[in-house]
């Protein structure tokens, strides 16, 4: 069942097109947004989170249209948003910050609010840092605190912009467990550059380029975009091919079969790179 519908969404920053007539429908579960820098992922998330008004088109979430002031506020009551820069007040303690955000989320009952703060701190593994000032938290802890503020009030729609930045492998594993659990009942939309996160978390992935969705399907389907175009070889291929040396010392090539190349199983990253076309491939080759 669709919970978020985007129709003909457009947004420009001067002469730069951030979103170009984008259509998308999202339902309950975890949806990943992949795309190079400047593809329009953050702009899309900001429009969905009601932080930014689109130039044209329509967004609808849970039957609410953020273009209408009353519905926008109603939608804000049902969403949790973790922006790229969560903007946490450095002089607040972690618990005080969450308590403040909880008040801004209209949790007026102090006892319930305290319980909710304890809950989200536990969810992100920051219970023992509750009284530590934000400025004294590490980057990963701040990212988790940002996630905690998004989780306050158990929102129906969770919008996370690069949530795994700064997380160590253990924290990332905890994060994946948390998000996948939330995705069972809620709509979670996250943007990331980590294709592993997409593979591990998302039932659905949308790849964006130049403000448009160039792929919308399953992570497996994204990997299949590179089917028959991934090769392993002992020697570096020549010609205009995209390749890199993997941990086993073999050369992994995308595109035409190199001499002595044996076919390899494509990954999500392979599919993503193939999908983004020759300009990215050329960039990799140039490096």
């Amino acid at each position: 069942m669709t919970t978020v519908r985007i129709q003909g969404l457009g947004k420009r920053y001067g002469s730069t097109i951030a979103l170009d007539d984008l259509d998308l429908e999202i339902g309950v579960g975890v949806t990943g947004l992949l795309g190079p820098n400047g593809a329009g992922k953050t702009t899309l998330l900001r429009c969905l989170a009601t932080a930014l008004a689109p130039d044209r088109g329509r967004v609808e979430a849970y039957g609410l249209d953020p273009a209408a002031a009353a519905q926008r506020t109603a939608l804000r009551r049902r969403l949790g948003y973790l922006p790229q820069d969560p903007g946490l007040y450095p002089n607040f303690s972690a618990a005080a910050l969450l308590d403040y955000v909880a008040v801004l989320k209209e949790m007026t009952d102090a006892r319930r609010r305290r319980a909710e703060v304890r809950r989200v701190l536990e969810e992100v593994g920051l219970t023992d840092r509750a009284s530590v000032k934000v400025r004294k938290l590490s980057g990963g802890m701040r990212q988790r605190l940002g996630l905690a503020q998004a989780l306050l009030g158990e929102p129906d729609l969770l919008i996370l912009d690069e949530p795994t930045v700064g997380l160590d492998p253990e924290q990332r594993m905890l994060f994946r467990a948390l998000i996948s659990r939330l995705g069972e009942t809620r709509t979670v939309l996250l943007s990331t550059h980590q294709t592993e996160d997409v593979g591990a978390l998302c039932e659905r992935v949308v790849v964006m380029r130049q403000g448009r969705a160039v792929y919308d399907g399953t992570p497996r389907g994204l990997a299949e975009q590179a089917e028959g175009q991934v090769w392993l070889s002992a020697e570096a291929p020549d010609g205009n091919r995209m390749y890199w040396r993997n941990a086993d010392g073999e050369f992994r090539t995308l595109g035409a079969q190199p001499p002595n190349g044996t076919p390899a199983r494509p990954s999500i990253e392979d599919g993503y790179l193939m999908l983004l076309g020759p300009e990215i491939a050329a960039g990799v080759v140039a490096r």
């Binding site: 932080a51 039957g63 946490l88 403040y100 801004l104």
Partner: protein
Amino acid sequence: MTAMLSEPAPAVTPARVATTSLALKEARLLLGTSTLWLGVGLAVALCTAWGWTTEPRWDTFTANSGMASLVLAGFLVLIGHLAASRDHRHGATDSARTLPASTRRRTVALLALIPTAAAAAALAVGAELVLLMPAWPAGAFDPWLLTAAVVIPMVGAGLGVAVGSWLPSTPSGPLTLFGVAAVLALLPVLGSSAGALSWLLFPVVIDENVAPEIPRPTGWHLVYLIALLVVVTAVAVLRYWRLVAAVAVVLAVVVAVVAVRRQQAERLPITPDTVAAYLDESAQQCEVRGSVTYCALHGYGRWISLWQGAVEPIVRALPPNVTNLPVVRQGSGPATSVVVDQHWGRHGTWARDSRLDLSAEYIRVLLDMPEQLAGKPGPGSLPERNRAVLPKGSMELSTGPRCSGAGQLRTVMALWLLAQSDTDGRALLGDREKLRFGRVDFGQAEIEAARRLLDAPRGRVEALLNEKWALLRSPAPAGDALAAFGVAELPVSSGGSACQ
């Protein structure tokens, strides 16, 4: 196209409840700000320091407390600005914008800083009063002026929120504070008399109260401050209620102008003639302690004990048959009275200096020595003696020509009497700065003679006082009256310079 899931919306918190909850949160955040308590502590410390050297009076206390509140208001300008610009400073604009609490609600909630500032200011004023203990301000209590000390920090908090709402960049707060401080510092430069417009625009009434019962339009000053508070509050919410806030600003400015005009109109011109009735005997309440009458202005009854401490040691040394002792009067009085003003030192040397000044003045009147002032009918009769009634432009009253009390018996006895009023009379006689009786000059010979008297048994000196009392109240030379104490005849000043 698939069907859109449209679940029922969760229960919505009523806007008023949500705003109140946020306002309470903002108030608690302010109360948890160490900068606020630093400001409160500094305000209390400054007020206490400024009033440390003098016995407290309501007019000086409210002026000191008001100035200290101005310092606290400065802190609140910064705190209010930081609170209102919180999101902009930390890049939280995006996440804050996506929360159900609108910027309007957040700004309205920030107005909770204003009553919280009032509570902090009231606490500071209370602490300033407690720190006066065991003393307590004398004079006329003016509730409007005390309230002003609470309202000024409210204006500061409101100004901080208003500036933070419109100009959230970090430098705006300090720059606003600097600008306001510069304007306030300029006001006294633009006009220094108590009734000047620039002084009336100054948030604190710092001119001295000439007499406790003189009517002062301080209520209008409070109205002016409240109008300022309305202006800054309305500016803070102008973005959300344009018409109402704009009307409120206009009305408040009109009220402020009217309040200042009323102050100008109702302020009594301070001249010796206009204030005489508020300082003369009809305005004083008298009380007899021992054999001396003390008359205090309204609210100064507690100071009688202080005056008594200066006068009593002298009276105790006088012959029992001496009657018609000078009356100690606060304000103004007839020539035979000793006039004190509304200043009295507190703590250590400041208290001692006030006590010695009164002792010396009491001795001067008692022994009919010429007073300090020139060309006036008699000692202690002038309302101008109250420093706040000095004629416009003059820093102090003119003094008459000095005269010589050298060789006069009363000069020696005055010095001995003064030595009685201090715990270490001998040391006092070594401090020329403290030995002053009106316009009377004297030399080391008279001081040495007084020392000889101090060395003698007190009973012998008191007997001399008894015997020579009539002579003591005249400029008669000592002659051989002190020979029994080992004092040779003192050289007398010749010519017209001798004191009469």
